[in-house]
Amino acid sequence: EKVTVEVLDHLEHLALVDFRDSEGVERLQKAIQFADQLHEVNTDGIEPMDSVLEDRCLYLREDDVTEGNCTKELLKNAREKVEEYFVAPPGNIPLPKLEERDTFLQGF
C-alpha cells in the first residue's frame, strides 16, 4: 500500500521539509514497512510508556525569575533583526498548493 500523493503533500506541508526526489519518497515507504513490524507484538492491556521516570514526580521549580536580561546575547545569532525584534517575512500567507509549489511531488 503506497502512500498517496495527497498524504505526501500534507507531510511536506506539516514538516516544512521536502522529499526532494524519489529516493526521499522511497525512504518513507521503507520506514513505514519497517515500522509495521510493530504490529506483530501483542500489546493488549499494556499502557503506553511516556517516560522511564514515570514513577517519580517531575521537578517543578518556583515561578521566580532567576536569570535573563540577555537580549543582546540572544539577538547575536539571528540573521535579521530590527532593534529588539526578530524579523520574519510576512505571515498569514499559506504555503502554495501542490500545483503551484516547486516540489518534486508535482510530477508524482
Binding site: A31, F34, R79
Partner: protein, 526 residues
C-alpha cells in the same frame, strides 16, 4: 609518558607533584590534535581559550589549590553540546556559524572543576547515525586504522592500492569523541547516547564508553534528539576515569526537570577481588543474527571468566529485544519531528534568503539546512504522528517500549545483578564498505545490541576487551540496574583488569611522547 600510558590518576598525581604542568599537557594535546588532523575527529579546536584555562589551572596548582581531580585535564566535547562562545554545529549546515550563548550544564560542570576544553568533536549530523560518517564536515577516521596492530594484519589487495582507502569507521554517532580519546588528544570526552551513540564508537575505538541512567545527568544544553532517551555519555581510556567524570557530572539540575532529585554522592571504585556474590545474566536474545563468531567467542570467554572466578553466571531472556529497533525507529522519528521544528532560521542558525512568506522561508531554510537523513526522519516522524496513524504507530511503539522495559525489570528482580552482552555485531568496517548501505539500514543493524538499554533508561558501559583478527578493538557491554552505576562500574573495572586490553600503537603518539619524555628527564621542578 604524560600523554599515553598515564591513566588520569597518574596524570593527576603528576600535575599535583609538578612533574608536568597543565600548560604543557594542553600544548601537547593541541599539538597532537594537529598531527592527527587526518582523523577528522575535531570540528572546532578552541586553542586560545584552552591555553587560558590551562594557565588558570597552573596558577591554582602553584598555589597548591587545585579544584579537584579534573583540574588541568584536557577534555573534548561532542559538537551537539552548547559551549558558550564556541561554535556548536551538530555537524549540520543548519547550525554552521551558530555561537552558543551558554554552556550546557555538563560543560559548565567540567569547566567549574578546572577541566581544559580543547574543542568540539565530530559526529553524524544531529547525532543521527551509527558511523560518524554523515556530518557536513566529513567522516571521522578510526585511529586504529593507523595502528601498527591493524596495519600488521591488513593484507593489501594489490601493491598499488592506496593504503589510505581501507581506513575503518569509528562507529557513531559520537565517533569524534571516541577517536579523540583513543588517539590520546584528550583524557576524557563527552558524547551523547540515544540508541548506543557512545557505546558503539567506544567499542570500535577501544575505549570505555559509559551510558548513565536516564535522569542522572543533566541534558540542559544538549541539543535534543529523543527527549525520553537521550543522555550525555562519557568516554575515557579506563573505567576509573569514567567514574571520576561521572562524579563531576551527575546530580539534579534545576534546569533539567527530567533529572532526578535524589542526592548523588560521587564515588571511588573499590578493587573487587571476590566476585562470588555476583550474579551475571547472559541474555540469549543478544546472540543476534549477524553477530560475528569472533565476538560470540569473546562473549563466551568473558562469561567463563566470571564463572571461573566464582560468580553465578546464568542465561536469561529479554524476549522483546528484537523489537527494540523498530520501536526506537518510530519513537525516535516522532520525537525528532518535534525537536527539529525549532530550526526555522528566525532566531539562530542558517536562514534562507527566501522571504516571500514565513512558511516559505521556513521551508527553504530547512530544505537547505538539513541532510537527507534528518529530513527523512522528520518526514517519517510526521507520518507516524498523523491522526490516522497516531494510535497504530506512536502509541503502539510506546506500549512496546513498556514491554521492553519490563523484560529488564523481570530479569533484575529475579536476582541478576548485571547483564553481560556484546556491544557491536563485529569489529569496525572499512568506510568504503560502510557507505554501501544507507544510514537507516546501518543504524538498524548496528544499534541492535545497545538500543534496548536506552528504551529502559538503564546504565550500560562498553569495556574494551580484545583485538579482533584484523587487529581492531572489540568491546563487551555491561548493563546495570537503574542508578546503580557504582555496582556497574565496579564490575566493569574488575573485568577491565582481567582482560588487559592492549594500548594502541600509533606513530604520531610515539613521536610526541618521546619528545615529552626527554623533556621530563631534563626539566627540573621545584
Amino acid at each position: 609518558a604524560a600523554l599515553t600510558g598515564a591513566l588520569r590518576f597518574q596524570v593527576s598525581a603528576a600535575l599535583k607533584e609538578g612533574r608536568v604542568t597543565p600548560t604543557e599537557l594542553c600544548q601537547k594535546c593541541l599539538s597532537l590534535i594537529k598531527s592527527t588532523k587526518f582523523l577528522n575527529a575535531y570540528i572546532t579546536v578552541a586553542e586560545e581559550t584552552a591555553l587560558k584555562q590551562a594557565e588558570e589551572s597552573e596558577k591554582r596548582y602553584r598555589r597548591g589549590q587545585p579544584l579537584g581531580a579534573l583540574d588541568g585535564i584536557p577534555v573534548a566535547v561532542k559538537d551537539n553540546f552548547n559551549t558558550a562562545g564556541i561554535e556548536t554545529t551538530c555537524a549540520s549546515n543548519m547550525l554552521k556559524g551558530y555561537i552558543s550563548p551558554y554552556n550546557a550544564t555538563v560543560v559548565q560542570k567540567l569547566l567549574d572543576q578546572g577541566a581544559v576544553l580543547l574543542g568540539k568533536t565530530n559526529l553524524d549530523e544531529f547525532a543521527m547515525g551509527s558511523g560518524s560518517t554523515d556530518g557536513v564536515f566529513g567522516p571521522v577516521r578510526n585511529p586504529w586504522s593507523y595502528s601498527r596492530q591493524y596495519k600488521e594484519k591488513s593484507v593489501p589487495k594489490s601493491h598499488s592500492e592506496d593504503k589510505e582507502s581501507n581506513w575503518v569507521i569509528t562507529g557513531g554517532s559520537s565517533g569524534g569523541s571516541a577517536a579523540a580519546v583513543s588517539s590520546f588528544t584528550c583524557f576524557a570526552a563527552l558524547g551523547s547516547d540515544t540508541g548506543g551513540s557512545t557505546r558503539n564508537p567506544a567499542a570500535h575505538c577501544g575505549v570505555v564508553g559509559l551510558k548513565p541512567t536516564y535522569g542522572l545527568i543533566s541534558r540542559h544544553g544538549l541539543i535534543p534528539l529523543v527527549n525520553s532517551m537521550d543522555v550525555p555519555g562519557i568516554l575515557t581510556r579506563c573505567v576509573d576515569d569514567a567514574a571520576v567524570v561521572l562524579g563531576s557530572l551527575a546530580g539534579h539540575d534545576p534546569k533539567d526537570s527530567t533529572t532526578i532529585q535524589d542526592d548523588f554522592k560521587p564515588f571511588e571504585l573499590p578493587d573487587l577481588t571476590d566476585v562470588s556474590k555476583l550474579s551475571i545474566g547472559i541474555p540469549k536474545e543478544y546472540h543476534a543474527p549477524g553477530l560475528s563468531s569472533e565476538i560470540l567467542a569473546l562473549w563466551s570467554k568473558a562469561a567463563d571468566l566470571f564463572k571461573n572466578a566464582g560468580a553465578k553466571v546464568i542465561e536469561v531472556s529479554l524476549p522483546h529485544t528484537c523489537y527494540s529497533i523498530v520501536c526506537y525507529h518510530v519513537l525516535c522519528a516522532a520525537e525528532v519531528a518535534s525537536n527539529m521544528a525549532r530550526f526555522d532560521g528566525l532566531e539562530y542558525g542558517h536562514r534562507s534568503g527566501m522571504n516571500k512568506s514565513t512558511e516559505s522561508m521556513y521551508a527553504a531554510t530547512r530544505r537547505e539546512g538539513f541532510n537527507d537523513v534528518v529530513r527523512g526522519r522528520i518526514l517519517s516522524g510526521n507520518y507516524f504522528l498523523l491522526k490516522q496513524n497516531y494510535d497504530n504507530y506512536f502509541v503502539k511503539a510506546q506500549k512496546v517500549r513498556r514491554l521492553i522495559a519490563n523484560d529488564f525489570v523481570k530479569v533484575f528482580r529475579s536476582g541478576v545483578d548485571i547483564l553481560l552482552t556484546p556491544t557491536t555485531l563485529s569489529d569496525a568496517v572499512p568506510y568504503m564498505e560502510f557507505i554501501k548501505e544507507d544510514n537507516r539500514t546501518r543504524s538498524a543493524q548496528d544499534d541492535i545490541l545497545t538500543q534496548a538499554a536506552n528504551m529502559a533508561g538503564l546504565p550500560a558501559v562498553n569495556v574494551p576487551t580484545a583485538l579482533s583478527e584484523r587487529g581492531l578493538p572489540v568491546g563487551l557491554q555491561f548493563i546495570g540496574r537503574s542508578f546503580q552505576e557504582k555496582q556497574l562500574l565496579t564490575v566493569a573495572k574488575w573485568f577491565e583488569k582481567q582482560v588487559k586490553f592492549p594500548m594502541i600503537q600509533l606513530e604520531e603518539v610515539k613521536r610526541h611522547d618521546h619528545r615529552g619524555f626527554q623533556h621530563q628527564k631534563s626539566a627540573s621542578f621545584s
